[in-house]
């Protein structure tokens, strides 16, 4: 039985909506591929957020309508994008200067594993025969201001993604500040994982059972508003 069948939890859009509430007004933000991309559609009204894509755009908008795609206007996931007024283009060295130089305030990534000390693994299983491909993930975690992760609480095979120590090759050490899952909002602290918020209909014991490391309960755990 898969993890999805044995517990309630947030949808991908609900996870993205919860994560979007953490992004402050005025932030320069880089969104990873997958669920993180959904966050842009859920920024609370009244906040202006500018999106960076590491292949060389600041200030891109939603995907274009079908038929209006431009093969030379794409994001880091190689998908077509549009530009918002005030957008800019730049070459790769400048783009990664923005990242490494600390000019990107907030970065939301996917994960294969997050360890209780904040280590992140999200680029390779290290399996024999796998083609290793890293892209910009190691640069983003080394340089962006606040690194948070959105991911299902468990992998497709039911194994926990929040673990004591990563078994997959690392993307970066001690880099993750917070994890948004379908079950909970979990902070990475000097004491390890701390549960801050929990999805409606999910109880603490369930989250603990599906977490591969000790999970401390914060005082006054809140229920996530989907």
């Amino acid at each position: 039985m898969t993890a999805e069948l044995i517990h309630a939890g947030l949808t991908r859009d609900e996870m993205a909506r919860r994560a979007a509430r953490d992004i402050p007004d005025g932030a320069y933000v880089n969104l990873g591929i997958g669920i993180p991309e959904l966050v842009a559609a859920h920024i609370p009204p009244g906040r202006e957020v500018i999106y960076h894509t590491e292949n060389g755009v600041m200030g891109f908008g939603p995907p274009p309508p079908e038929g209006e795609e431009d093969p030379e206007l794409i994001n880091a996931g190689k998908k077509p994008i549009t530009l918002l007024p005030g957008a800019s283009f730049f070459h790769h060295a400048d783009s990664f200067a923005m990242i490494r130089g600390g000019h990107i305030d907030f970065c939301i990534l996917g994960a294969m594993q997050v360890a209780r000390n904040g280590d992140l693994a999200n680029w390779s299983t290290g399996a024999p025969g796998a083609i290793p491909a890293v892209g910009g993930a190691m640069d983003l975690v080394a340089g962006a201001g606040r690194i948070v992760v959105i991911t299902e609480h468990c992998a497709k095979d039911g194994s926990p993604k929040l673990v004591d120590a990563c078994t997959y090759p690392l993307t970066g050490r001690g880099v993750v500040a917070r994890v948004f899952t379908d079950l909970a909002v979990v902070d990475v602290t000097s004491e390890g994982f701390v549960l801050r918020e929990i999805a409606p209909g999910v109880d603490l014991d369930t989250v603990r059972r599906l977490t591969g490391a000790p999970l401390l309960a914060a005082a006054g755990i809140k229920t996530i508003e989907p």
Partner: protein, 236 residues
């Protein structure tokens, strides 16, 4: 008179030698200089070391160069994509080398090569397998890994407008690695959509100053990799 224009892609790549290091622009298909790569396939140079962010799609462009057995080693950040079969097959058979580099490190190594800086320290990859065997030094309490410049014999780049002096503009996200690859190669070869008179590009909007460019060739209506792949085109 300075005139960097050459007649066609074949002339532009005629002197690439076996064993040369070639930087090839593009992020996915955006900015991939397909016509120059096809000319390089026709030209026949072998044992190339190629640095490019990806490894191409289908059986055209960079993927076709690799499929033709011309590339000994790829220096690359992301050698996978939905339509990329050529590189993975050769890599699994041990018939092509891979130097995997974080994307920002790849860009900075190329920039450093063009800027005359032989090495630099970066926080990217510290504590990971990609930093193994590299010098790590602490600055203000934080560890950084030393990376070396990447310089090349040639660069193949796609730009938008160019003049006979080599001044360039780019098209949207096709800019990506173009400007820094022009800097880092002894001979930067650029295909442009249109050649204009000197002065035809406002000096305020020149992205690559002509000093970095050796040859420029006009390729109007350049092919897009995804269109060729969708049409099932294979090269040669």
């Amino acid at each position: 008179m300075i005139d960097k224009r050459v007649g066609d892609p074949a002339q532009a790549v005629a002197d690439v030698k076996d064993g040369d290091t070639v930087l090839i622009g593009g992020f996915g298909e955006a900015g991939s200089p397909i016509e120059l790569i096809h000319a390089l396939i026709d030209q026949g140079a072998r044992d190339l070391v190629v640095a490019s962010n990806n490894t191409g799609n289908g059986q055209v462009g960079l993927a076709a160069l690799i499929a033709a057995g011309r590339v000994r080693k790829m220096i690359c950040s992301y050698p996978r994509s939905s339509n990329s079969r050529v590189f993975p097959e050769l890599y699994r058979k041990g018939q092509i080398e891979l130097e995997l580099v974080p994307q920002g490190t790849l860009a900075e190594r190329i920039r450093a090569g063009g800027a005359g800086v032989p090495a630099f320290f970066t926080p990217s990859s510290v504590g990971t397998v990609l930093a193994e065997g590299k010098e790590v030094r602490e600055f203000e309490g934080r560890p950084y890994v030393m990376e070396r410049w990447l310089r090349a014999d040639f660069a193949l780049v796609k730009a938008e407008l160019g003049d006979r002096l080599g001044n360039l503009t780019y098209n949207k996200t096709a800019r990506n690695f173009g400007p820094i690859m022009c800097m880092a190669a002894r001979t930067a070869i650029v295909q442009v959509s249109r050649i204009v008179e000197p002065g035809g590009i406002d000096p305020e909007v020149v992205v690559t100053p002509g000093v970095f460019v050796k040859r420029i060739v006009e390729v109007a209506n350049a092919a897009h990799e995804s269109v060729l792949v969708a049409q099932g085109v294979t090269y040669p």
